[in-house]
């Protein structure tokens, strides 16, 4: 293997180093002057004034969400892979077996924002790309109980199963709507690890932004 020796710029005798240094300083000054003279290069956002026009990067992970299609259906098969991969048990997948089909399907998908570390593992392992990380970052609430909730809008089979049925009325019979705090959430009276059972008087189901 040939080794390519690249001479470091600015080495050599004192005079050439002197002028190289001077030139590099001028290059730096030209760059910073470009930033000064072009206010469009400013990256600062005036939050919360620009709340409506806030630009966030795609990589921001602030909330776990379900991918819901136009019909309002998801692709979750309740396979539990995300639950197994979750490093601190922030996900609880509750499945049900309807007597009609006998096949397991998703009932509720409980996600605990309060313990989630936003490591993105659940999103990466999901075989059907059901989960996504969302940039909705204003998640603070006054009661921890509000931070364990259900992501799935309904209990029932995946969109693939549902869309095989032509009649929308028949589809509706196969699914049952599920609220945000449905299933084994703290607000529904379930004991969850790390959440105090004490009920604050001001806490209501409507509390919080979610």
């Amino acid at each position: 293997m040939n080794t390519v020796i690249v001479e470091r710029p600015g080495t050599g005798n004192l005079v050439s180093r002197f002028f190289y240094g001077f030139k590099s300083l001028l290059i730096g000054m030209r760059l910073t002057f470009k930033y000064l003279s072009h206010p469009s290069t400013v990256v600062t956002q005036q939050y919360p004034e620009n709340r409506k026009s806030l630009k966030l990067a795609d990589r921001v992970r602030a909330q776990l969400k379900f991918e819901i299609d136009g019909e309002g259906y998801h692709k979750c098969t309740a396979c539990h892979i995300c639950e197994q991969q979750c490093p601190n048990a922030s996900i609880h997948v509750i499945e049900r077996k309807p007597s009609a089909t006998g096949k397991p399907e998703l009932d509720t998908f409980i996600w605990r924002l309060d313990s989630c570390t936003f490591c993105n593992l659940c999103v990466m392992v999901c075989p059907y790309q059901v989960l996504k990380m969302d940039a909705t970052f204003e998640s603070s609430v006054y009661d921890q109980k509000l931070l364990a909730y259900n992501l799935s809008p309904y209990a029932g089979p995946t969109s693939g199963v549902l869309m095989k049925i032509e009649d929308p009325e028949a589809r509706k019979k196969m699914i049952e709507p599920r609220g945000q705090y449905a299933g084994p959430t703290a607000l529904s009276g379930y004991p969850l690890a790390g959440i105090s059972k004490k009920q604050f008087p001001e806490t209501t189901h409507q509390g919080g932004h979610l």
Binding site: T32, Y35, L36, P39, T41, V42, T44, Q46
Partner: protein
């Protein structure tokens, strides 16, 4: 030389009757203090805004329109803040240090001619006086670092001391070039000598080299980046003023920013003609029409524009260049700047002797 005796000297130059002298003294003092406070507030705001935009940020935006009242709010905060003195500090020295810093700055400020009529003290040894009293500032820094009884403060103060004393040489060497060319130590005479053109270009090459040397060494003297080793945040938290808070910290801060003004004003006075408008040749020469147009702009505006552009240059340096290491700092001064300064001085001497510069009238100035 104390402030009062010096001020009495100034006033005795202006008028001999005691009533008028007292009135002049008081108005001069009040005027200087008002100018000083206003200038510091403006400079700090401008620095923060300019710095922000150099770094793709917005800077202060909340207090007033585009944060214009930010430095007023900061000043109020500093005034109302608790003045914390370390338990094992030398209390007296700790209290005196900021005063030294501010007084040294103030003493240099009064010698700067703002326009042909607006000069507080036009001493016949103006340049010598400025380089002498500006050296007092280092005493404030050393005292502050020593009395804080904190190793970081002490290291910062020692670095500042070494740095200021070293770079004083180069600064003085570059100033000497101008003294030689203009043949005077009096600042007003130096400005008058630039009526046909500024020294930066009238003395070909020599003036420019002296100017660059002056800019570098004066940046080092006022401890600004890239020479801010004395208060390098990443190494020494805040250097000599780590243990200062409230008003005493504000004093150091004030001195720092007004030193920037004083140094830029001195640079403008020596190399860019001070309040003298941009002239090319004398009034009978080829460019007399141009000179007359330039005369339409008031002297004070000329002075302020020149000073502001030098201040901007210093800010530009600060937010572009990385900080030097201690050994690099010393190497730059003793191995590069000082030899260049001496060489330049010899060239300037020859140039002055043979009258080899633009618009030379006979020998010397």
């Amino acid at each position: 030389m104390s402030v009062s005796s010096f001020s009495r000297n100034i006033v005795s130059h202006l008028d001999s009757s005691p009533g008028t002298s007292a009135a002049l003294f008081v108005s001069g003092l009040v005027g200087t203090l008002a100018f000083m406070s206003l200038m510091a507030l403006i400079l700090i705001y401008v620095e923060r805004k300019v710095a922000a935009h150099f770094q793709c940020r917005l800077g202060p935006m909340r207090v007033g329109w585009h944060g214009i009242l930010q430095s007023v709010a900061d000043a109020l905060k500093l005034i109302l803040k608790e003045d914390i003195v370390p338990f094992s500090a030398d209390k007296l020295m700790h209290a005196t240090a900021p005063v030294f810093a501010v007084v040294a700055m103030l003493l240099t400020l009064i010698a700067i001619p703002l326009s042909s009529s607006l000069t507080l003290a036009d001493s016949n040894i103006g340049v010598l006086y400025i380089s002498a009293v500006s050296g007092l500032g280092v005493l404030g820094i050393l005292l502050g670092g020593w009395s804080s009884n904190n190793k970081w403060s002490l290291i910062g103060a020692m670095r500042a001391g070494a740095q200021i004393i070293s770079y004083e040489l180069s600064a003085t060497l570059s100033v000497l070039v101008i003294i030689m060319l203009s043949g005077s130590l009096k600042l007003s005479t130096i400005i008058q000598s630039q009526a046909n053109g500024w020294w930066i270009w009238r003395a070909p090459g020599v003036g420019l080299i002296a100017f660059i040397t002056f800019i570098i060494s004066s940046t080092a003297e006022i401890n600004r980046t890239p020479f801010d080793l004395a208060e390098g945040e990443s190494e020494l938290t805040a250097g000599f003023h780590t243990e200062y808070s409230g008003m005493r910290f504000a004093f150091f801060f004030l001195a720092e920013y007004l030193n920037l003004f004083v140094v830029s004003a001195l640079g403008a006075t020596l190399f860019l003609g001070g309040w003298m408008p941009l002239h090319i040749g004398d009034q009978q020469g080829l460019f007399s029409g141009f000179n007359q147009v330039m005369d339409l702009i008031p002297e004070f505006v000329w002075f302020m524009l020149k000073t502001a552009s030098l201040i901007f240059l210093s800010m530009w340096f600060r937010w572009t260049f990385p900080r030097l290491r201690v050994d690099q700092l010393m190497k730059l001064e003793w191995k590069i700047l000082m030899p260049i300064g001496f060489l330049n001085l010899v060239l300037a001497a020859l140039m002055t002797f043979f009258g080899f510069f633009f618009f030379a009238t006979g020998r010397g100035f």
